[in-house]
């Protein structure tokens, strides 16, 4: 222990800067894993909890099989009741409305799940039984009375405060037939069921709500609690089957959690990106640790050799290095955890924007803390294992050499063979992508790491060629001392290699992030243009009746108006499996006048206009490219949808680009919607303004004329698109941050290497100074060495970045069905290269200064 204390703790204490540099990799790696893990978990929990809250303690829920928003008749309560094993049945009806006095929000809130138009979500319940399926935490007043037709309401406290409502006030709500009043009898906390709609939620006796919204005897959902306190999942499954049997195919009996599944899946896509980048951060971190330890070993070759001469065994030397690594690993992980917690706060803000969900109740899961700490420690030990083993191999004679002239290892002379093999195998694996779906991500990451390793193995043998090729340029840029610097690059190839590799990884990550963002944004913008087409977008907290269509058309300056209605639909894959999708109903011709579909492919010879006319003709739908890709659909095929009258075939008229609802969208005509789905109201109207007329004037007119009466939110498309872009940028800024971390790591790597080189060559620099090299020339010499590293790292990094982003886009298409166009931003590629070179130079400033300050006398008398 004394030896450990002397050799390790002392060396850590005496070289704090070096130790900090070494542990930086661990710190960053651990911090990013933890932060990303915590945020992910918080987001997942928040979303699943939200869905769990809506159905609290229920075992099963019954809904209508067609989600047309019309609900179902309450007489099925009787039918369901005959099924054995039911404990409680809680019927409910949900409506969205607005307070009569409530001003509609001036802008639409966007989130990953679509748009949030605000408004108040009301649920009609049977107060007698509802408490057994959902949790209400009463904070003031009383809960609803047991009478189902009392005209009273219980609101979430935060919402009531926001709207200046106090107990016993009359709450005025907007209904299809005007304004109705309810007495506010109680307030509940924004917990459990109260978390719905971000707290803009209230409960009303069932019959009262049915009456006000003209939905007599109609229900949207029945929550069922099984009649067995400790029911197994098999019991629930059995009850589910029995219920489904009794109710028939017009009704869907679901597990409550399944409602949230789609959301979880959506979140999953975003997670893939995050996980990948945290893996990369860790990898780069491991690299830095390895780098730092290799350097330590090289730097301390004499020391280890001396320890061997005085009788230390190989194993003792290796153990010392490993012990040092574990001390660093522990310290680094501890700091990393601290930083990670801090980072998680920042990340959760981004996720809140993306998800539109409040994540303020973020918790620190102890298992994640332990895991990330352990990962940090293990990665450190792994990364240090090779250098430690190398340290053990140092011969005692090494200590007797004036300067440690390390032999050219196998890595430097023959590494390129392994490099080529790794490169070929990993590229082939990534392109061919033979992995099963669920292992894809993990194995894919391994292949990416193999690719980077391959690239790294290639560096040492290529350094000579790079140096020769660039020598002339270096000489011209930095003068003769630049030439010496350039030649220096070949002296410690191992060090050069590791540094260049760190830079390479940083640059390629940057390029990947940029290309992906650019490609994604490119497609997204094109689609957004269509999705929120026209000039003005009119929407409301409540669905709008179609009479508004004519009224909007009559507003002065309006050229055309296109209504849009979204609803959920069930459809059947070619092999008969049932799938959920979103139906977007439009008036094809009006839609085409205001905006247009982004056609991905139309049938051979059939023009886009023809496709639209076909849709207008009825029984024709367009499907999204994601669906087409995923299920192998093409124009001319037939697709079955579940309509009011059962399964019904539709012809696919075209494939269009659409990212809404995770890309699972079916477009159809307004007429078909009315005919087959019995719906006739709009979610939004897109308005096109006559040429030469001010959009703002028309917007203001619409707002004045109909805003209050229809509770409209009227926004210009430009404003919306700007906001969506800002939102997107925010979401992507996270990736930028991770790329930035990678570059920071590379920066530290370069500083580390050059500092070490300078320290090692102090005598030599003193000699050069003594024969007349100026301080400026010394600086140029170091800068030239750094610059060359920057060039190599930049070029290789850019190549790898392009290669990887191509592969990612391809595999993303394969995995999710999103078909993204590969956009290679040339300016970004140039920028990536320049950043590498510039970073290398900045990183060289400190070591170059150090070199310039070398005292000639001291350098010559050193040792």
């Amino acid at each position: 222990m004394t030896l450990t204390r002397l050799l390790i703790l002392r060396s850590i204490k005496e070289r704090p800067l070096r130790m900090l540099l070494s542990s930086f990799g661990i710190i960053l790696g651990v911090a990013s894993i933890l932060a990303i893990g915590v945020t992910n978990q918080a987001a997942l929990e928040s979303v699943t909890r939200l869905f769990a809250d809506t159905s609290g303690k229920s075992s099963l829920i019954i809904t209508s099989a067609d989600s047309d928003g019309q609900g179902f008749n309450d007489n099925i309560m009787g039918r369901a009741d005959r099924v054995a094993g039911i404990g409680v049945m809680a019927p409910s009806l949900s409506v969205t409305t607005v307070l009569a006095e409530e001003l509609p929000p001036t802008e639409i809130a966007f989130s990953m799940f679509g748009m949030d138009q605000g408004g108040l979500s009301l649920m009609g319940i049977d107060p007698q039984v509802d408490g057994q399926v959902r949790e209400y935490e009463l904070v003031n007043g009383r809960f609803l009375s047991e009478r189902l037709d009392d005209e009273e309401i219980v609101l979430v406290e935060t919402f009531a405060i926001e709207q200046n409502l106090t107990l016993n006030d009359w709450v005025e709500i907007t209904t299809p037939y005007g304004i109705d009043k309810l007495r506010l009898v109680g307030l509940i906390a924004e917990e459990g069921a109260g978390r719905q709609n971000n707290g803009a939620f209230g409960v009303v006796p069932l019959e009262t709500l049915q009456k006000y919204f003209d939905r007599n005897r109609s229900l949207d959902q029945i929550d069922v609690v099984i009649d067995k306190p400790d029911a197994s999942s098999a019991d629930v499954q059995q009850l589910k089957n029995a219920l489904q049997q009794a109710l028939g195919t017009d009704y869907a009996v679901l597990f409550p959690a399944s409602q949230g599944e789609r959301v979880v899946q959506m979140l999953g896509n975003y997670q893939i990106g995050l996980n990948f980048l945290s893996g990369m951060a860790l990898f780069v971190g491991a690299f830095l640790i390895y780098n730092a330890f290799s350097m330590t070993v090289v730097e301390r070759t004499r020391e280890f050799g001396m320890l061997r001469t005085v009788g230390m065994t190989r194993r003792q030397v290796t153990r010392q290095v490993m012990l040092e690594a574990s001390v660093l690993g522990l310290i680094g992980s501890a700091i990393g955890i601290g930083l990670g917690i801090f980072l998680a706060r920042g990340l959760s803000v981004v996720m809140e924007v993306v998800l539109g969900q409040d994540l303020s109740r973020i918790e620190l899961p102890i298992d994640l803390v332990i895991i990330s700490g352990l990962v940090g420690l293990i990665v450190t030990l792994f990364a240090a294992a090779i250098p430690a083993w190398q340290a053990g191999k140092i011969s005692p004679l090494e200590a007797l050499r004036i300067r440690g002239i390390s032999k050219e290892g196998w890595f430097i002379s023959d590494g390129w063979k392994v490099g080529i093999a790794l490169l070929l195998v990993s590229t082939a694996l990534l392109l061919w992508n033979p992995f099963p779906y669920d292992a894809q991500f993990r194995l894919g990451s391994v292949a990416v790491i193999a690719l980077f390793f391959g690239g790294t193995f290639m560096i040492p043998s290529s350094v000579t060629y790079w140096e020769r090729g660039m020598r002339g340029i270096m000489r011209r840029l930095y003068g003769n001392s630049g030439l010496i610097g350039s030649l220096n690059l070949e002296r410690s190839k191992m060090r050069t290699t590791l540094t260049v590799a760190a830079l390479m990884i940083g640059v390629s990550m940057m390029i990947v992030v940029w290309t992906m963002t650019e490609s994604f944004k490119g497609d997204l913008e094109e689609w957004l243009d269509g999705y929120i087409g026209g000039d003005i977008y009119v929407t409301s907290s409540v669905n709008m009746r179609t009479d508004l269509w004519q009224r909007l058309q009559s507003v002065e300056g309006v050229q055309a108006v296109a209504p849009v209605r979204y609803f959920e639909v069930k459809w059947y894959t070619p092999d008969g499996a049932e799938e959920d999708g979103l139906f977007m109903a439009v008036e094809p011709l009006a839609y085409n006048e205001v905006t247009s579909f982004v056609f991905d492919q139309t049938d051979n010879g059939v023009s886009e206009e023809a496709a639209l006319l076909e849709m207008e003709g009825g029984d024709t739908i367009f499907v999204s490219s994601v669906m087409a890709e995923k299920y192998g659909l093409s124009p001319g095929d037939s697709l079955e949808l579940f309509t009011k009258t059962g399964k019904r075939p539709f012809v696919i008229g075209a494939v269009v680009v659409d990212f809404y609802n995770n890309g699972l969208v079916i477009d159809g005509s307004w007429a078909d919607m009315r005919r087959h789905f019995r719906l006739n109201d709009a979610n939004a109207y897109m308005v096109k303004v006559n040429e030469g007329i001010s959009i703002d004037t028309v917007k203001a007119d619409i707002d004045d004329l109909f805003g209050d009466r229809y509770h409209l939110i009227v926004e210009s498309n430009l404003a919306i698109q700007e906001r969506v872009n800002v939102l997107m940028d925010q979401a992507y800024s996270m990736f930028d941050i991770l790329a930035l971390i990678a570059m920071l790591v590379a920066f530290l790597g370069i500083t580390n290497t050059l500092t070490m080189n300078v320290m090692e060559r102090i005598r030599e620099i003193g000699m050069l100074r003594s024969i007349g090299m100026s301080r400026g020339q010394v600086i140029l010499m170091v800068l030239a060495e750094a610059g060359l590293m920057g060039v190599i790292g930049g070029v290789v990094g850019v190549i790898f970045g392009i290669l990887l982003s191509r592969i990612f886009l391809l595999s993303m298409t394969a995995m999710s069905g999103y078909k993204l166009e590969f956009i290679l931003p040339i300016s970004r590629v140039v920028m990536g290269f320049l950043i590498a070179v510039i970073i290398a130079h900045i990183a060289a400033v400190f070591p170059a200064n150090r070199a310039a300050k070398v005292d000639i006398m001291e350098a010559i008398h050193q040792d």
């Binding site: 050799l7 004499r302 001469t309 005085v310 009788g311 065994t313 007797l400």
Partner: protein, 249 residues
């Protein structure tokens, strides 16, 4: 009784295509308490011999017996342990750990052996007194002069009471006055502590402190001289110079 014997030692180096015979058959032995000097022109194989004797390197052929151990029969770990317990090295460049104090540097072989340094306080005091650094024990190497650093490394070589101390040009990096102090120190440790010592040197003045001087040339022992107890240093030095001149002729 001989502490160290070498029989027909050879050591070849492969250099590019051709072979360098650094040692071409050396027979050599050292008795307990003896102080032996090794001299010879540059490249004659002095350092090579010393490295082989101390088990830092393996001979191409021949056998070394060190404190009863036949080195050719030992693996790397066993050699390391023999070195740890029986050999002390002193080099031209002192090879001290910059992060440790003089005292800690001296105790290093003890600590490496897994022992507690406190139990060696007496031995530590003895060697510190021998090298005259009692007042400098807690200084770091960069706070010490070259001669003082060399004295620390001599103390380190002797802390384990090794069977033999091997010194390769211990004065090569020092001025003549400091060199003299170092050689006197080695002489004293031989006389007072009975320490067996081999010193490689170029300097006849340094060689004069030995009991016996072995001359190497082209990898073989060319001649030997043994001093009479009665000769003073100046006489011994002259004897060495004469032997060198004779060899060159």
């Amino acid at each position: 009784m001989s502490v160290l014997t070498a029989e027909s030692l050879t050591r070849q180096y492969q250099l590019g295509g051709h072979v360098v015979n650094a040692l071409a058959g050396v027979d050599f032995s050292v008795s307990e308490g003896e102080f032996v000097g090794i001299m010879g022109p540059s490249g004659s194989g002095k350092s090579t011999l010393l490295h082989l004797l101390g088990g830092l390197d393996k001979p191409s052929d021949g056998e070394i017996t060190l404190a009863g151990n036949k080195l050719s029969l030992l693996n790397d770990k066993e050699t390391t342990l023999v070195r740890r317990h029986n050999v002390g090295f002193v080099f031209q460049f002192y090879n001290l750990l910059p992060t440790l104090s003089a005292e800690e540097n001296i105790l290093l072989p003890i600590l490496i052996d897994g022992k507690d340094g406190k139990q060696y306080q007496k031995r530590l005091d003895t060697v510190l007194k021998l090298v005259g650094l009692e007042s400098r024990r807690s200084h770091k190497p960069d706070q010490l002069s070259g001669g003082e650093q060399q004295r620390v490394s001599i103390a380190r070589a002797m802390i384990t009471e090794p069977a033999i101390v091997l010194a390769d040009e211990p004065t090569g990096n020092l001025d003549s006055k400091t060199g003299k102090i170092i050689m006197e120190l080695l002489r004293r440790s031989c006389d007072e502590l009975g320490q067996t010592i081999i010193v490689v040197t170029h300097d006849p003045r340094a060689a004069a402190y030995a009991d016996r001087v072995v001359f190497l040339q082209d990898g073989v022992v060319a001649s030997q001289i043994a001093f009479s107890e009665l000769d003073d240093l100046a006489v011994r030095r002259q004897t060495v110079i004469d032997a060198m001149v004779e060899l060159e002729a």
